[in-house]
């Protein structure tokens, strides 16, 4: 066949799925091309034959054993068919399975890392407090001494800023804007108490 495009159109035209415009073009082409005309005639004959199946007369004896024979045939074919499918799909399934397993493994690793233990994170404040808590344990003396060291460090920080500036900040707008309702309420209560006393 020299005209693959018209070959497709002929097939579509016989199925009734070609547009009116194409059908007209095809008719013009068939008038000129003997090969395509022959192909069209051949396909048309096959279609006509196929649409008129010959009625086969079978005895009642044939139909009586039909189901049993069909079952037997299917049973004998099944393993072979399954094997064929597995052979055909084998590698495809293997690769798909491997991809799914890999995705599952990566997902698990990701989820595990999401809830990773704090102890392993050197940047985690909670991890640091955890370690300190574990080291202090139930040792009250150690805890007291450590607390006093922290408080003295805090004192040093306060000295650094100076007493005057510590109170001057209340004049700025930022401090009031950043307080929560709960904190503002508390400041108000305390101020009211101060005024009364």
């Amino acid at each position: 066949m020299k005209c693959p495009k018209y070959e497709r159109w002929i097939s579509d035209a016989l199925d009734g799925s070609v547009s009116e415009k194409r059908r007209k073009i095809l008719e013009g082409h068939l008038a000129q091309c003997p090969d395509c005309r022959a192909y069209h005639d051949r396909l048309s004959r096959i279609q006509v034959e196929a649409s008129r199946p010959e009625e086969i007369k079978l005895s009642s004896h044939y139909w009586e054993g039909f189901s049993a024979r069909l079952d037997q045939k299917l049973r004998s074919l099944k393993p072979e068919a399954e094997q064929g499918i597995l052979r055909r799909l084998g590698w495809r399934w293997a690769w798909s399975g491997a991809a799914v397993l890999l995705a599952a493994a990566l997902g698990l690793i990701f989820l595990r890392n999401q809830g990773r233990p704090l102890e392993n994170d050197v940047f985690s404040f909670e991890a640091c407090l955890d370690r300190l808590g574990q080291e202090i344990g139930e040792d009250v003396k150690l805890e007291d001494k450590f607390t006093s060291l922290i408080i003295s460090s805090l004192g040093e920080e306060f000295d650094f800023a100076g007493l005057e500036e510590r109170w001057a900040i209340f004049a700025g707008p930022f401090i009031w804007e950043s307080l929560s309702d709960e904190e503002l309420e508390f400041v108000e209560q305390e101020t009211t108490k101060e005024i009364k006393s």
Binding site: G115, R116, L118, V122, F123, S124, F125, E126, C128, L129, R131, L132, G133, E135, I136, D139, V140, K141, L142, E143, D144, K145, F146, T147, S148, L149, I150, I151, S153, L154, E157, F158, F160, A161, G162, E165, R166, W167, A168, I169, F170, G172, F174, I175, E177, S178, L179, S180, E182, E183, F186, V187, E190
Partner: protein, 165 residues
Amino acid sequence: MRTKRCVGFLMGFVFLGSLVFAQMPGERMIGRERLRENINRLRLLRMTEVLALTEEQTAKIYPAYYRVEKEKMELMKRLNSEIREVKDLLAGPEVKKEGIGPKIKAVKELRRSLVEKEQEFEDFLEQNLSDVQKAKYLVFSVEFYRSLGDKLKRARVVSRERGGA
């Protein structure tokens, strides 16, 4: 000057924050909680200084810090209570198997919530710091935690000396 103003601002906030904490209804601050709070204050002061936070940054970061810290304190209290209950279940000659499963689940859940809270603040901080400040924050964190370890070592030496004397 800017840093000093920020530190001043922060200290005011820290001061107010401590008053609010002290107001927690019907709850007396126990030693470990107080220690945690003091470490938090020290961390904030040092962080403000090291990162040279602006007033605007401080005004954003500190309320968020206190909010997350308060939520973490609540989680810690619940976690401690759950652990005490697990200890009770394990105490005695015969282990009380009933109820252990849900307790383990609760402890794990609270621990996961703590990690999430910490991450929440870290994410917030990330959004409000410049790249240089982010880098400084990483170095600051490691050094601050190391300094706490050093303080604990010093405290151990002193308490041992006093204990021996």
